[in-house]
């Protein structure tokens, strides 16, 4: 495998990340409502922060993969693993900064982060599975 091997110029991960970000907007009212009803203004801000982190994490991950794949598949390996560490570090830094201000309600933040991340992935997986298995039966939503 040489360094000059590149993959074809497609960016399916960008489409998936765009779908996921759009779905974050769709489900956000539910989480924001739960946050504000259960924990007040702090809960609202914490849920909003978790939703933004999930969307930005997906978009950043996809952007790293797309950019690295244009260089070479060897670069892709390094970029994905390096990007994983960088994204976790960025997320930790942002949350620690917000926590230091005293505005972070940890429970709604944790619930929103995990449920949104896993729920949206499951939703998108259904779409992708149908698209790959039977393009004619591709769901519209």
């Amino acid at each position: 495998m040489s360094n000059s091997v590149t993959v074809e110029p497609v960016a399916p991960e960008s489409d998936i990340a765009r779908h996921l970000a759009r779905r974050v907007v769709l489900v956000s009212p539910v989480f924001l409502l739960v946050g504000v009803l259960g924990w007040g203004l702090d809960g609202l801000l914490s849920s909003a922060l978790a939703l933004v982190l999930v969307a930005v994490n997906f978009r950043l991950g996809a952007a790293i993969i797309t950019r690295a794949a244009q260089i070479s598949i060897n670069a892709l390996y390094g970029a994905v693993l390096g990007g994983y560490v960088v994204r976790l570090a960025l997320m930790t830094a942002v949350v620690l900064i917000v926590k230091a201000t005293g505005l972070l309600a940890t429970v709604p933040f944790a619930i929103t982060l995990l449920v949104t991340h896993l729920g949206l992935l499951a939703w998108e997986s259904r779409h992708v599975a149908m698209t790959l298995a039977a393009p004619g039966l591709r769901p519209t939503k």
Partner: protein
């Protein structure tokens, strides 16, 4: 160091130990997904090198695999935030 430890109250000691535990837990929780992501990407790269025409499908599956694996690290992150004093 023992003098410093002897001067701290039980509450302070507990807070410090909780912070150490949270950091250690987060670090350990990030190892597994790191190995998992490496496996996913390594196999995806092998597939793309063997069949470059299937790169689109492979990258789609790879991205979803990475995201699902990353959920484990997020669980560790959430526990870290919950434990942090």
């Amino acid at each position: 160091m023992l003098n410093v430890l002897a001067q701290t109250g039980p509450g302070e000691m507990l807070e410090g130990l909780k912070a150490i535990g949270a950091g250690l837990g987060y670090g350990l929780a990030a190892i597994g997904p790191g190995v998992g992501i490496g496996t996913v990407v390594g196999n995806a790269i092998s597939s793309m090198a063997r069949q470059p025409e299937s790169a689109g499908m492979v990258r789609t599956t790879m991205f979803l695999g990475i995201a699902f694996t990353e959920a484990l690290a997020l669980i560790g992150f959430v526990v870290f935030i919950l434990l942090l004093p």
